[in-house]
Symmetry: D2
Subunit: 348 residues, 4 copies
């Protein structure tokens, strides 16, 4: 438990908190910080009564043991974290960032074509899976290393930054060699070996919320990455499991303002996996921006009917173009801007 | 309807299924497949009871193909239903309608003040509970008939249309005498006696989705009202039960485009109950409009800290004013308009 | 909030609690009881710190505001409530009570036949719906009053007590005229007009848990009935909504020991609605008894394939006979007995 | 697979679906119906990707008929799989197997003491975590390799078989060197790299259901292990995420008979994690046996109040002794036996 003092708390205020904690049978340890002092409680078995402390002079708030994340919390760091990608894209600032591309890299012409289209329509990050986690062992599992090479080629040609998924600790190293952002998927949100490795890669990480993860669990998964020294974490809401069968998942857009209040990390939304249905992607992408998301990640395929995976939830490029127009207006309605398109790449 | 047979079902098993289907007055068509046979049922008008088939020898599962609702479905009627209220407000057309007001009518000055503020800020419908369904029998249950009278007075003074909840069949008659729209709350979504009475009132009905109702169940509840001859039904997404405790409910905004594809009825969203938290109401109201809602219903209270119910989720009037500005822009981004403010009421 | 004192707390202990509450800015009101004194806290806005009180001499426990039920709680009344039915069946004592019969009363020979079979196999209560709540307005809705008359006739012939559902306040009066136990179904668990009427009927009430009701909400619904003066309430776990489509609902058997710790009311389980699948009814009925349920309510039909409703989840009489054998052994394993069969009815 | 067309689909739409199905290498058979046409797909071996069809013009929905798992299914293999452990324990036969022990191995005397107690009370498998997956990076993470060595020592002294969790592919090798059964925890149920490695270890695997995994997903996760050549898989129900906060998870005991109908693999239940509350473990362990589980895995700690993890859900040894008595009777009620206690280990 952490007692956060007001920035103008006096030494006397802090001393009184320390005394009360001692009175409760625990040890208090003041932690002076840049803006304020916090008082940690040692030996807390989870039964410390926060209410007794909350009312004291000079106390801003008491962070209970049931929110055991620290470094990811806004209490720890008040200003938004802005994750800067190699091509200049900034996630978590005032820009709304658009990441787009196919579910999976299928072949060179597919990924090169879509990269150019996405760039021309205003996306600044290209998504595309090389390693695909599939519910069935018999489904298409991605091109693997060859997929990573094609993504790197697409980046060179288009200027887009690359985000692609890593499935296990060793794979994460390979992905980090090629990609600008290492994605950890929903199924692996609590794969702690992978989270720890991601924390040591030095590359930005896109961490997707697990299928039934609470928001606290999402933040604790991010805490694993920060605890290894990597603060460049982008969270992603992608829908949670629910009971209605009309959609693949239930996109929990309220998680966006909830996370932004609890944490300084950026959060984007994935309306493609969040709905599983092409016709619902555009309205929910708009809604995500209206709800305050720092970006969206959207599946677009040049020929969805022939996609090797997730075709039913991929937009046609024309639909994506219309979506871009709409979210430009919506972003402005709340004082933000969709990130500016990339400059044209010099053609050798 | 499709009856899927087990892979080791015998010819005798299949014949018995065919016979039972014939017995029900329909035609059965066996479809032999690679691994198993399926039996299609032709001419099914949606009234086949699958239970009789599910328990039969050799049957693996019965898959419904026809949706059980009819009059509410877009297949039944392709054009949007537009529900016109007495003060000219139209729900379900190109306008985005704003309904606003306190959770409960508390006294005359409260409801009169807020009515004028809501009208001046651009709402065209006033919400306010006279009969309150409360989880505990010991909580404030509303002013009852006196609340209805005050709502009528507020309508006269402001020009706003009135929406308020009915809790039981008799109450529905009283509500219909005073209100422009009779609300059926989430807890009563499958209160069939109340739905049937609402279907005979001749007044528009606002039907809220139950706390864990599927979209099909919501549409079937509406079907009860239409089946009694009342087509003036407005659906409302207000959040479903989920596992995260940061919010009161999980607002399922994807339900909006899903319902609009399945049904011709208008659908609005309630971000106040859908989140339960004042700070999340504005982003989720914006998101609802961006997702294509035909309107929003929002709790606003002149002094939320002293509200007799739901204070924690009520907006301050200033917050509501800012929300109106934002959704005017967002509505235009998708080719709609927030409904024009009402003309000033002539002061005798 | 209620501070429950130990039964041997001294006047001095109680005075100290009163003083501390005053110190907190609230008013304390001691409530002397048969076994112990409780101290109520008036003016509590929900922020009273229970921990400060919990540690005091003579205090047994502090019941927080977030459990706003009172009369249904074990704190209010320590001994189990035993609901006695007219035919001598006692629900909530050491006996495990079996209620069985068809989903719906369909005609005289069906209900008379099944009543005799159920009695002969050892059930002591007959279930059978006269008024059926159906998701679709076009499904079979029950025989109504005629169904009630047939149930009464079956009772006379068999000696079984009758449980059947009421759908609305007026219907509840009619049901109470004929039945021994008035059932309130899952869809109506928060139909407060119906709950209040049930509280004034003077007949035992079987209250089913709503489709996504928390245990606290179930207890609060029961509180509505007790608040009207009727303590004869039997709770029923019947499955909650979840995400897996293999079963109709997710039977939450852990709710049984949870409810028994929180409340003095009896609780039974409905494995028929809780699973929706005949082949799962027997194992889950056994599991319910093993988990400590005070009884089970099971659908049995003489010819499930021709049942007008719920055929797929109805046991054949032979299956029911086997189930009875198994639960007799299981009940004994935990020191209980399946209620003794009724004596033969004298044949005029 | 069945492709259901919209009621207003054109002949052209239907023809295109037929062509695409042919293109995929299967045969399409249109089934004209009363309201709409459906197109059956013949010869589908379970590898058809529905997404390609779902997005096509005129298609209402695509309904899978073939279950995507194969080797785990009872259609593939009718007889129960019996997993034999090194000490003679057989999981999946007529015996009900009891696995018991502490959440985590804490030190030598703790694990040796509890091993002897568990053996004497009739368990045949010892559980105990060496590598602990923890939601927070700051919680106790287990003794690691030292924990495995202590488990091996406890096995030698007690004769119990050992089950302990592996968190990642490399760890799985280490675990397999020491343990009799390699556990894959709920958080890792879809960690495909780990599943594949587990499939190549040659050791029995205990696979726990993910926190919100459907039963089909659980079976598909097992399919990953069988697809690598390892058939020795024991499934485990351990509770799914739900909305009630009284328990840690919602133990879905109906999954037991559901899995046993779909698959030949054994399934056990974990009432400790499934409830999270000591007082609910015993009733739910009994219920699991009554529901037909092939075993239970229960946390028992010599001093739960001082346990380094999961103390609140660990039984005292005396409680475990009483539970063993009860389940011996319950197992017999359904024609099974709790596995016979191990013979005493020869003391050198």
């Amino acid at each position: 438990m952490l007692v956060v003092m007001k920035h103008n708390a006096t030494d006397q205020d802090i001393k009184r908190v320390v005394d009360v904690v001692g009175d409760m049978g625990y040890e208090a340890r003041p932690i002076p910080g840049g803006q304020r002092t916090a008082v940690g409680i040692l030996g807390n078995d989870g039964r410390v009564d926060s209410a007794r402390l909350e009312g004291m002079e000079g106390v801003l708030e008491v962070i209970p043991v049931t929110h055991p994340y620290k470094q990811v919390s806004r209490e720890w760091r008040e200003e938004n974290t802005v994750v800067a990608l190699a091509n200049g894209t900034k996630v978590g600032g005032s820009d709304v960032v658009v990441m787009a591309g196919p579910c999976a890299v299928e072949n060179e012409s597919q990924i090169m074509d879509i990269a150019h289209q996405m760039r021309d329509l205003g996306a600044t990050v290209l998504r595309g899976g090389a390693f695909k986690p599939r519910t069935s062992p018999y489904s298409f599992q991605g091109l693997g290393l060859r997929g990573l090479e094609l993504l790197a080629k697409a980046r060179e040609a288009s200027g887009l930054a690359i985000v692609t998924e890593a499935l296990d600790p060793e794979g994460a190293e390979a992905v980090a060699d090629f990609a600008d952002v290492v994605q950890i998927g929903a199924r692996n949100m609590q794969n702690y070996a992978l989270l720890r490795r991601a924390g040591r890669l030095g590359k930005p990480v896109l961490l997707k919320r697990g299928m039934s993860a609470t928001i606290d669990e999402l933040l604790l998964a991010a805490e694993y990455i920060l605890a290894e020294g990597n603060e460049k974490v982008i969270l992603c809401e992608r829908g949670v499991r629910s009971f209605d069968t009309h959609t693949r998942n239930l996109l929990d857009l309220t998680a966006i303002p909830v996370v932004k209040a609890l944490s300084h990390l950026p959060i984007i939304a994935d309306p493609s996996h969040g709905t599983g249905l092409r016709a619902k992607v555009t309205p929910m992408a708009r809604a995500a921006v209206a709800a305050g998301a720092d970006g969206i990640i959207v599946e677009v395929h040049p020929d969805p009917a022939r996609a090797l995976s997730d075709g039913a939830q991929s937009l046609y490029p024309e639909q994506f173009a219309e979506l871009m127009e709409q979210i430009r207006v919506i972003a402005r309605a709340i004082g933000r801007e969709v990130a500016a398109p990339l400059p044209a790449v010099a053609q050798g």
